[in-house]
């Protein structure tokens, strides 16, 4: 029945949505190879450090690719290319926001995080503060970020796979949920990292070929490409348009994208997979380079799709333009190439949800189980057992959430995840690293304020009230709450810390400096 479903053909100019033997073959090959890697990784995944942090054996360059892989989701590949294809230059403004967070991760966070922590970013926040309260609130912050990001990915995956392969939505969600659970459950961080690296290489090379094939139609001259865009759709496509009308909106979204990156648990967790701070630093350099190159590619793919496929054809399939890159692949490289790109997009989703699930499971087992329920006394076997159970639970949960939110508009959830990451996770992490007088109560209040404000304000924002609930006007004016929620989180953290000093925490700040800056005693 499965195959019959896949092989059903449907008429139309594009073969999108029909069974494409190349894409199905490619996809099965990808799953087979990655499951073999998982099998290989399973034999090397015995201890906690191996499960959570790949035994700290990943090199700086490899980790850079894996970080880039975590960040280059199907949403950014198809979404940004689609945004450029339908709205022109504005798509680039959006991708710049996603990129500029990376330098800040390097300058402010990467090295202290690597030196102070063990498996999760809460290790760093809790380092000199009281464990129990910090672990509880920071795991809530982590899990909220992960949940919203995961829902957006699962719902996107189901819809995308339905369009790509003609596979039923429910079946697609089930396949994604099961395969990624296998990666994490048996292969831990080692498998998750290698899946991510393979996918990053596939995605970058696939997108590069797509750009070359497209530019070939313009005599390899980007100038000719821009000329075609300008003559067909007007010169205004090549300059900023209506994307940013309200400067406060721009500032708020900019902050969420930029600093949210520095608060994403699955990204932060990757810094523990390298041996030391020097490798952590190198991995950000590599990641930033690859991600920047990737955004350059999506920019060219978007304009090429606009010029070669045409805006009406793209918008007729999907209003947001999400199918632009795929239609372009079909037009320039035929059905076989479409199949390849479609399989890469599928692989991308799998790899990203695996990373999210692993970071969620570590938050549950390492932060909650060990430090809240076991008072910090970890027996390694018990901890891994809990981590594996949490993985299965999160796998099932992600499938259920994918089913529950079927057909819902969940695009806002990515913005919300970034807002919570920027407001709940980032301020507490930064203040714990750089500010001596930061206290336990300050951290708790900061995280709680950031998370709550993000949640409440997004419900009152035009993103939900106008776009989803259909009200004329929203109570809160900004589309993304980060400007207010992040400022609130910093302010609360500072005020509460100053009102009630914690001498012990301040004293420990001095002694932890050897570890923060020299790496003495780092794990």
């Amino acid at each position: 029945m499965f195959l019959a479903l896949l092989l059903q053909a449907s008429p139309g100019a594009s073969t999108l949505g029909t069974a494409n033997p190349v894409s199905i073959g490619m996809f099965f090959l990808f799953v087979a190879v990655t499951l073999y890697i998982t099998y290989w990784a399973a034999k090397k995944t015995k201890t906690g450090s191996e499960f959570y942090a790949a035994g700290r054996s990943i090199s700086g360059f490899q980790n850079g690719l894996a970080l880039a892989g975590d960040y280059m989701s199907a949403a950014s590949f198809l979404g940004i290319a689609g945004m450029v294809a339908t709205k022109g230059y504005d798509g680039l403004i959006y991708s710049i926001g996603f990129l500029v967070g990376w330098p800040l991760i390097m300058f402010l966070i990467a090295e202290p995080l690597r030196n102070l922590g063990k498996y999760t970013f809460a290790d760093v926040v809790a380092f000199r503060l009281r464990q129990r309260p910090i672990r509880i609130v920071s795991s809530v912050g982590s899990l909220m970020t992960i949940a919203f990001y995961l829902i957006a990915q699962m719902v996107g995956a189901g819809g995308l796979i339905k369009t790509l392969f003609g596979l039923e939505y429910e079946l697609a969600v089930l396949v994604v949920g099961c395969v990624m659970t296998l990666y994490v459950l048996f292969g831990g961080m080692i498998a998750t990292t290698w899946v991510q690296i393979i996918k990053a290489v596939l995605l970058l090379s696939g997108a590069t070929v797509l750009v070359l094939l497209s530019l070939a139609k313009f005599g390899f001259s980007p100038g000719n490409l821009l000329e075609s865009v300008s003559t067909n759709y007007g010169q205004e496509m090549l300059a900023p348009g209506g994307y940013i009308s309200n400067p406060f909106d721009a500032l708020s979204l900019g902050l969420a994208l930029m600093l949210g990156t520095a608060g994403l648990p699955h990204i932060l967790m990757r810094f523990y997979t390298v041996p030391d701070a020097k490798a952590a630093r190198k991995s950000v350099f590599v990641a930033t380079g690859f991600i920047g190159y990737f955004y350059l590619l999506t920019f060219l793919i978007g304009f090429s799709a606009m010029a070669l496929v045409g805006k009406p054809a793209i918008e007729s399939l999907d209003k947001g333009g999400n199918m632009a890159a795929l239609l372009l692949a079909e037009q320039t490289g035929g059905t076989a190439f479409l199949g390849f790109i479609a399989a890469v997009a599928f692989a991308t989703i799998l790899a990203v949800v695996a990373g999210l699930t692993l970071s969620g499971a570590s938050s549950i087992s390492h932060d909650l189980y060990v430090h809240v329920f076991k008072n910090g006394v970890s027996d390694e076997k018990g901890e891994i057992k809990v981590a594996k159970r949490a993985t299965i639970a999160l796998g099932i949960l992600s499938i259920l959430l994918g089913l529950v939110f079927k057909g819902q508009n969940v695009a806002f959830m990515v913005g919300l995840a970034f807002s919570i990451a920027a407001s709940a996770n980032f301020p507490a992490l930064l203040m714990s690293i750089i500010w001596k007088r930061f206290t336990t109560k300050g951290a708790v209040w900061s995280i709680a304020t950031g998370a709550l404000l993000s949640l409440v304000l997004i419900v009152l924002s035009p993103t939900i009230m106008v776009d989803i609930m259909g009200y004329e006007e929203a109570i809160f004016p900004l589309k993304n709450p980060a400007l207010v929620s992040m400022s609130g989180a910093f302010l609360m953290g500072i005020l509460v810390s100053l009102l009630q000093p914690e001498h012990e925490a301040a004293a420990k700040f001095e002694s932890e400096k050897l570890r923060t800056y020299l790496g003495v005693g780092a794990e």
Binding site: Y89, L92, I93, S95, I96, G97, L99, V100, W102, P103, L104, M106, F107, L108, E111, G223, L226, E227, V229, S230, Q235, E236, L238, A239, P240, Y243, I244, S245, N246, P247, A250, L251, G254, M258, K278, R281, K282, V284, F285, T288, G289, G292, Y295, L296, F299, I434, E510, S511, K513, L514, Y517, L518, G519, V520
Partner: protein, 102 residues
């Protein structure tokens, strides 16, 4: 000069260590604020003066295109500058200080 072996506490209190920490944050903060200024400067330009960015610098190419792609390149170069500084300056000071700890 300095004694060859010291306790961790002596290293923490040493002027070399304090200088190192101070230097690390000056480099980081200068680079951070450069990035913030460039990015938010760009957003403000988009919000308040789109016309400048729409200026043609080629037959069809607008100023917005090299500026946008330039910011991506610039962000990457900044990370490169930091890595270069840290590999050459920071790491050797770290080694020196670590060797002094008993």
């Amino acid at each position: 000069m300095n004694q060859p072996h010291r306790t961790p506490h002596d290293v923490l209190e040493s002027s070399d260590f304090k200088k190192l920490v101070k230097q690390r944050w000056s480099v980081s903060l200068v680079l951070t604020f450069t990035m913030l200024a460039v990015y938010f400067g760009f957003l403000l330009l988009v919000a308040f003066n789109k016309e400048v960015l729409a200026t043609r610098i080629g037959e069809y190419t607008t100023l917005a295109i090299p500026v946008g792609l330039g910011i991506i390149l610039f962000a990457w170069l900044l990370t490169g500058i930091y890595v270069f500084w840290a590999n050459n300056k920071y790491d050797s000071s770290v080694e020196n200080l670590k060797n002094k700890i008993q």
